[in-house]
């Protein structure tokens, strides 16, 4: 009854993209195996997951064809690494926005030939994918837009620029009025950079349309996450993480529609009392640094240890969709200001102070019906790691079982993580 699933290959396409075809050819097989083990081994999955499965099957082929077709029409294809880069503007220009954060150990050794070992694996992985020509999405972009959030990223952009045109958007580190002014200027520069590629200006109508499209996408994800909070949950944490990862490379309109279709199914499942796991299953919320595709390590361990992940307070998670943009802006300046206001609500630990995030975590914790919080920190991510101190304190105050995990993409620590997570589940169960 195992479903037929294969991540597809297309060597001609990869050749055209100047990839290391020989080395890359092994990747679809590896991903297929991992996906079968982690996702298809689950029982009672929602039927509407079929679409998201197919998005994984087509990640190196069909989706790339679509992106190249858009490019052939003169639409800009822009890679990003952070949820602070305003997608709405790319959408308004008819462009394609692709999240390029790396979530695989595969290319970390490539990156370590150049970058220091002691930096975030997400940055190393992404950089490694580019310099070794091992990611078709990366090969397909016209240019990438980095930002000045953490040190690892902003200094890596200087080096990445040698391999692919890399623009950098300055993100302030505080949220005062003067920071907002700086930020608006940066948003305008970003818009100008995109306009240069398309050779025309983005008008109010187009931008409003872009805002509406992304608002709709974020609202769909809000609806989905709300349904998932239903206790007992109708969908697994693994599937939820996957959908939130696919949000970074799918076509927004289609993605929105498919998420709603899934939501409709989940609503029925909730009514019919058809949960994905027995009601007694312990519920765990995860907070912290993003988990980029195919980083499924933590969720896989948690759920295979018999618990369910019920929320991700993360950029590949609620930080991406918890806020939408007010739509009452009329003039260009007005719309851009509203847009910036939305982006200022993102509570990344690169900001100081960032106490709003602590409150946000507690709010989501309550909404999700979780029984414990695991804070996930990618190794060498200092800002999230230090902020975990405040999270721990808040959890102690609220009587929330808390555990901080620092990990990278290597399989070395899986045994130890398993023990810690099982012990955490025992702790929750009392």
């Amino acid at each position: 009854m195992e479903k037929n699933f294969t991540v597809k290959s297309d060597t001609n396409l990869w050749q055209r993209l100047d990839m290391d075809v020989e080395r890359f050819s092994a990747v679809p097989g590896i991903l297929t195996g991992a996906y079968q083990d982690i996702f298809l081994s689950q029982s009672n999955r929602p039927a509407a997951m079929d679409y998201f499965d197919s998005m994984v099957e087509n990640i190196y082929t069909g989706r790339i064809d679509e992106i190249l077709a858009a490019k052939a029409e003169g639409r800009p294809v822009i890679g990003t690494f952070c949820v602070y880069v305003p997608e709405e503007i790319i959408q308004a220009a008819g462009g394609v926005c692709i999240g390029l954060c790396g979530g695989s150990q595969l290319t970390v050794p490539d990156a370590e030939k150049i970058l220091p070992r002691t930096i975030c694996p997400m940055v190393k992985s992404a950089f490694g994918f580019k310099i070794s020509n091992m990611c078709p999405l990366f090969q397909a972009v016209d240019f990438v837009y980095g930002e000045t959030t953490c040190d690892a990223k902003k200094k890596t952009w200087e080096l990445l620029d040698r391999y692919v045109p890399t623009h950098v958007m300055e993100i302030p580190q505080r949220k005062l009025e003067r920071d907002k002014r700086l930020w608006i200027e940066e948003v305008k520069d970003f818009k100008a950079a995109v306009e240069k590629v398309i050779g025309s200006t983005i008008d109010e109508g187009a931008l409003k349309q872009g805002v509406a499209t992304l608002n709709a996408k974020r609202e769909a994800l809000q609806r989905l996450n709300g349904l998932r909070h239903h206790n007992p949950s109708p969908i697994s944490g693994r599937d939820m993480l996957l959908i939130q990862q696919i949000a970074f490379y799918d076509v927004p309109e289609r993605f929105t529609e498919k998420v709603h279709a899934l939501c409709d199914e989940l609503e029925i499942r909730c009514q019919n009392n058809n949960p994905v796991a027995p009601p007694s299953t312990p519920r765990i919320m995860v907070s912290g640094t993003p988990m980029a595709m195919p980083n499924w390590k933590l969720h896989n361990i948690i759920e295979k240890s018999g618990a369910l992940v019920v929320n991700e307070e993360s950029c590949i998670g609620t930080r991406y969709y918890k806020d939408t943009i007010a739509t009452d802006g009329t003039s260009m300046d007005d719309i851009l200001e509203k847009l910036t206001e939305r982006y200022m609500k993102i509570d990344c630990s690169c900001f100081t102070p960032n106490d709003d995030r602590i409150d946000q975590v507690l709010t989501e914790y309550r909404a999700s019906g979780a029984q414990g919080l695991i804070d996930y920190c990618l190794q060498f991510c200092h800002t999230y790691n230090i902020e975990a101190v405040k999270l721990r304190e808040a959890c102690e105050r609220e009587g929330i079982p808390f555990m901080a995990i620092e990990s990278d993409y290597s399989p070395e620590d899986v045994g130890q993580l398993q023990t810690r997570i099982e012990a955490f589940i025992e702790q929750i169960q009392g």
């Binding site: 045994g415 130890q416 810690r420 012990a423 025992e426 009392g430």
Partner: protein, 248 residues
């Protein structure tokens, strides 16, 4: 009669328990196929139930154990039964070390494990003893013979080894170096305990707790007595057996 079995990275520990009382226990070095070895050990008993803990717990469940619990919970149960006032446990095993905090009722509220690194583990002790040409016993006896010490700064096994070599080349007596290593381990373990916040009685478990010098240094560092069970290495296995008590 219930049996708790702790399949650790370096040794297998077994505890036979009847109505909460420890009847007998056993510690053997683990071989290449620990679950087979464990099964042989079990063959001489007719336990009602078997609970496994430690790194090999899931393998044990596949083959013979009806129940599994983590080392964390097992130590909490075992230490608490031996020392009812216990609120903090420091367990130093072959490959890892951990600190567990309990609430007044004995429930685990927090724990920390030493990740990915040999520092502050039994393995580290062995490596350091070997670098001085001592057996483990000689190593702690040597450290107990001197009061003075030099500083060993590195807790990384590789770097610590080269520090030892350079101290020896400077003519520092091996006893003094041995004491310095003990002290550096206690610095590391003491910090782990303090990070979690020491409360109530502290129980030190794991084979490493047989080392009197470490126990004394730890008590000095934390400024409070340190409780060491009679057989510190079987606390986990004992706890696993106790876990079975309520299970029909």
């Amino acid at each position: 009669m219930d049996i708790g079995i702790d399949l650790g990275s370096r040794a297998i520990k077994l505890a036979v328990v009847e109505e909460g009382r420890l009847l007998s226990s056993m510690v053997v070095g683990s071989s290449f196929e620990p679950h087979k070895q464990a099964q042989q050990l079990l063959d001489s008993y007719q336990p009602r139930l078997v609970a496994a803990t430690g790194y090999g717990r899931h393998l044990a469940q596949k083959h013979f154990a009806q129940h599994v619990i983590t080392e964390i919970k097992a130590h909490a149960l075992g230490a608490r039964r031996l020392f009812p006032g216990c609120r903090t446990i420091l367990d130093v095993g072959g490959q890892d070390s951990k600190v567990i905090a309990l609430d007044t009722a004995g429930k685990v509220v927090q724990f920390q494990m030493n990740d990915k690194c040999a520092a502050g583990t039994g393995r580290f002790m062995e490596m350091m003893a070997a670098s001085l040409g001592y057996s483990l016993d000689e190593f702690s006896r040597a450290a107990g013979r001197v009061g003075e010490t030099v500083a060993i700064n590195s807790m990384c096994a590789v770097f610590a080894e080269s520090e030892v070599v350079s101290l020896r080349n400077r003519g520092v007596a091996p006893e003094v170096i041995a004491r310095a290593i003990h002290r550096s381990i206690i610095d590391r373990l003491g910090t782990m305990v303090e990070r979690i916040g020491l409360q109530g009685e502290l129980v030190f478990s794991g084979g490493v707790a047989r080392n009197r010098v470490l126990v004394d240094l730890l008590a000095q560092r934390l400024r409070q007595p340190v409780q060491v069970p009679e057989a510190p290495e079987i606390v986990g296995a004992y706890g696993a057996a106790l876990h079975l008590a309520g299970i029909p």
